[in-house]
Symmetry: C2
Subunit: 298 residues, 2 copies
């Protein structure tokens, strides 16, 4: 069976971003079922899947290496995919960022609180410091503004007003901007974390299937992370009111408990919705309410 | 007195490198007598000298801003001064790096342990990944080797052999290179930390004097950090032998202790030399030996 032998030798070369996305990337890979660990200082994490070779690389570089086929797949965010103009297959959203799951960071245009600049239109002829020069230039062009975009190596929040009139900086919680007395003028780009694949790897059926399997396992866990299962009991009298509440979230499954007037209902909701949902169920007459975390959605 | 009024309004805009040099930069500024502290996330550290405005900026950017006069002065390392081809005044060496004082890190050319590449000459036509592209190109040119230097955003130790044939990476202790099974072929650049000043600021006498004062205070402390004072007692019989030992380190000061046959000798040595010096003094007949740290040299 030559096909199997060949497959045994095949490997996915997979890029994991070093730095801000590293923690959640490793966490969700682990929770997706891959036993992966990083020896301090070593850039090739160990993983208990002989078909995967992992590399820790700077987030800026993964899209380029994936587009060139030097990596078969990897985890990357849309900012650097766009900035590098990398031609990659976006296999699925991963929905996690450095600190949060479910909402991404964004690149914003900001000026000092005391700046006379009130909107992007006031930047005509001014200097904007940005780590993502191509994305910033495209944004300014869309707005019909001609400004000089200076490449920033980082620490951009220090730059206005002394080194630039405005900055384009990434923010997840807004804390750094507030701490440095910066005022947000506009959102330049909302960032999504993606599992991306190389167009070359995508043409290789074995690799494509392996990447899709990885994506399914990781994405299922990320979605599971955000979901809760809700179970509750009710009498037949209250059932319509309770179903009316549940309907806003999901199609509930209803089972009559044998030999009683009780019904068992179960459905799913976003974990974040539970704090509104649970009191509403209670008000509608539900009892024995149980919220349990979903682990993975398939 | 218009001159004084004017001076009161003058300020030095001073760049402190964020990242690997940040810790020692703040430490030596503090020990030089400046009460400086960083509010978390805030890029403008507070300093108890109203004539200094500090900014935390990426190490890569300080030479450029100093050469343009946007910063009057700052702490920078020679790698990024050279890489940015920044025209700056090198006021003094600072002799500290990320982890060590007295010896700097270096950029080295390295390949995987298993690579057939044995010397820089074998890199003809190959790909070298490096964060300091200009410095690396100049090095290869000196060696008469034509290779493609690809810009690396960092994490270069992951790159050979899959993404490049060789890497130019910075190392202070060699740990990362060893952990990633890399073999050093050659030193590309030895790095020194410097206090640098803008040619523009240097023409302003008030600024120049202020920068020179800062340099004297910081450099004095860095040198003091590495020095020890040695004091010892001896009889007149042993004095010649002891002076012969001391002479290797410094010109000793000798005082006769009134009404006795004892002499008190004192001199300075490098703190690192003390472990050889002290036993030698003992062997030569000294007693009451005291080594005390120097704090600052003026």
């Amino acid at each position: 069976m030559p096909k199997i032998k060949e497959n045994l030798r095949q490997k996915i070369v997979f890029g994991i971003p070093k730095g801000s996305l590293q923690g959640n990337s490793l966490l969700f890979l682990r929770q997706a079922g891959f036993n992966i660990y990083v020896v301090p200082r070593v850039c090739q994490p160990k993983i208990d899947d002989s078909q995967i070779n992992c590399f820790l690389l700077r987030a800026q570089e993964i899209p380029k290496y994936v587009s060139l086929g030097k990596l078969d797949a990897g985890i990357a965010a849309t900012d650097w995919i766009l900035e590098q103009k990398a031609k990659v297959i976006e296999v699925c959203d991963l929905d996690f960022a450095k600190k949060t799951v479910g909402r991404g960071p964004k690149w914003v245009l900001a000026v000092p609180q005391t700046s006379p600049i009130k909107s992007v239109k006031d930047l005509q002829g001014k200097v904007v410091a940005s780590e993502i020069v191509n994305v910033t230039n495209a944004y300014l062009q869309r707005k019909g503004v001609k400004a000089k975009v200076e490449f920033s190596w980082g620490a951009s929040e220090a730059k206005a007003p002394l080194f630039a009139d405005a900055v384009v900086d990434i923010t997840e919680t807004g804390e750094s901007l507030r701490a440095n007395n910066l005022r947000i003028l506009d959102t330049v780009l909302e960032v999504k974390t993606k599992l991306i694949a190389s167009p070359l790897a995508w043409q290789n059926l074995w690799k494509r299937e392996k990447i899709e399997t990885m994506a399914m396992l990781i994405y299922g866990r990320v979605r599971g992370h955000q979901m809760s299962n809700i179970m509750a009991h009710t009498t037949s009298a209250n059932l319509p009111k309770i179903l009316a509440v549940a309907k806003k979230y999901d199609q509930a499954s209803v089972k009559k408990i044998a030999g009683t007037d009780y019904y068992d209902i179960s459905f799913r909701c976003q974990a974040l919705q539970a704090r509104d949902l649970l009191p509403a169920l209670k008000m509608a007459g539900a009892h024995g309410i149980v919220q349990s975390p979903a682990f993975r959605l398939g």
